[in-house]
């Protein structure tokens, strides 16, 4: 016997595991293996509000779901923009998407870059490779409210000049008189005439006041580690350094346990962390 009484109180609660249908507006190739998706809700128009630094879970029918940071302008909630690299089954399927195809979207999840805390201060953004994508919304925000910040510096490193993300936009930023943009590559390819060397080498000479700067770092963990060292050498306090972490994520809601990092769940306590708060275990192997 199974005494099952009709009982589905779940209907009254929002289900954070259920994706919403979105439609591809545009797919743009960025570099050899990276691309940008522009999405809009499939069921009528509604704005997608998010804070700079948050991420979504994107689902491809029958294939699977992956976390991807939002890389659009938080001031333009009409368009949902994601940039990613085709590295796994899901992102490779994503690369094949065409205009009008559907994807599932859950989000936004996670916390955000300290764009409010940084008001009145110098903003130093250090990005490596595809790491420019998750931090671009912070730069948009700062540039949208340029008068609220002092010096704004973007230091960006990639493997080769061909790996520079959002290249035309980076060139536009570099032409601005109110932002200091420095790009450097590991391996120069003709006709590159800019800096050669890792991004950390740009830090000692960047125009910011180390006592009045907020640094936001996004890139692979090793790059973050050396960038933090260089910023500390420059005198930036651990309280004013923020990093974006990556861990395996399945649910994005703190239920699945995969993204644990020390005491944190990267999905809900991060992905942005204040360096002083994670310093005791940052860089610790196998955590």
């Amino acid at each position: 016997m199974t005494a099952t009484v009709a009982h589905s109180p779940t209907r009254n609660l929002p289900n954070p595991m259920l994706p919403n249908p979105y439609r591809v507006q545009r797919v743009r190739k960025e570099t050899q293996d990276t691309f940008t998706l522009e999405l809009e809700p499939a069921n009528g128009q509604s704005d997608f509000h998010f804070a700079a630094g948050q991420f979504n879970m994107l689902y491809i029918f029958g294939v699977g779901e992956v976390p991807i940071s939002i890389s659009g302008d938080p001031g333009k909630p009409r368009k949902l923009v994601h940039t990613t690299r085709a590295v796994g089954v899901v992102t490779s399927a994503m690369q094949q998407l065409k205009r009008d195809d559907m994807v599932g979207v859950r989000g936004p999840f996670g916390n955000d870059w300290p764009v409010v805390e940084a008001q009145g201060k110098d903003v130093v953004i250090v990005a490596g490779g595809l790491g420019l994508a998750p931090v671009r919304p912070a730069l948009y925000h700062v540039l949208n409210h340029r008068e609220k910040y002092d010096n704004v510096v973007l230091l960006y490193g990639t493997r080769t000049p061909n790996d520079i993300l959002y290249r035309r936009e980076v060139e536009k930023w570099r032409a601005r008189l109110d932002v200091d943009v420095h790009v450097t590559v590991d391996r120069a390819i003709h006709p590159w005439r800019g800096n050669v060397g890792v991004v950390t080498r740009l830090i000692p000479k960047s125009p910011f006041d180390h006592l009045n700067a907020v640094a936001m770092i996004c890139g692979p963990e090793v790059m973050i580690r050396f960038t933090v060292l260089e910023l500390e050498r420059r005198g930036v306090l651990p309280d004013n350094i923020f990093i974006s972490m990556e861990r395996n994520m399945k649910c994005a809601t703190g239920f699945c346990g995969h993204c644990q990092w020390g005491p944190n769940f990267v999905c809900k306590d991060g992905p942005v962390f204040r360096y002083s708060e994670i310093k005791p275990f940052f860089g610790q192997r196998g955590l």
Binding site: V66, P67, I68, S69, T84, R85, V87, T91, G128, G129, L130, G131, P134, G157, T158, R159, D163, T184, D186, R187, A188, H190, W192, R193, G194, N195, V196, G197, V198, T200, R201, K205, C218, G219, P220, V222, M223, F226, S244, E246
Partner: protein, 157 residues
């Protein structure tokens, strides 16, 4: 003489000469001169005798390796405030790389051979120069290691 005076004041402020007593800095300023290089001009070439080193006042310099099929491969770029060259301090005193001005570049050029001879009987000077040179070597080595490991290769989605 104004040039020596201005060179001396630049040297005094530069981290490379930190902890070196003014008397010695003054001595070094006497071994120093101002140079400027046109865009594209070679500052030194691989295999040449390394008898000087440079403090870049303004400009940008590429350290390059030349490969027959690939042409000049820039390994690292240096700019304002950077110290260029350490081969003058270590045997066999030969440049291992090419250095080329990427833009019009001004440097303070120091007489490495003269300083080397000075260091042989002034060990205190030798110690400070060696210490600061090694600091630069360590920084460049760390940066080079990061270039080798392809530090941007594995990035979040």
């Amino acid at each position: 003489m104004t040039t020596v005076e201005s060179i001396e004041s630049v040297l005094e402020r530069h981290p490379f000469f930190k902890d070196i007593e003014p008397r010695l800095v003054h001595q070094m300023a006497e071994h120093a001169s101002l140079s400027s290089f046109e865009t594209g001009q070679m500052i030194f070439r691989q295999g040449e005798a390394a008898n000087q080193f440079y403090i870049i006042s303004k400009g940008q310099v590429a350290l390059e390796v030349f490969a027959p099929q690939q042409g000049a491969i820039p390994l690292m770029t240096l700019s304002d405030g950077d110290v260029l060259g350490w081969s003058w301090l270590f045997e066999p005193y030969i440049w291992h790389l090419d250095a080329r001005a990427m833009v019009e570049t001004q440097t303070i050029t120091l007489d490495g051979a003269g300083l080397r001879a000075e260091c042989d009987h002034n060990h205190e000077l030798g110690y400070h120069l060696m210490k600061h040179s090694v600091e630069i070597v360590v920084q460049r080595l760390q940066a080079a290691l990061m270039q080798v490991i392809d530090v941007y290769g594995l990035k979040k989605q």
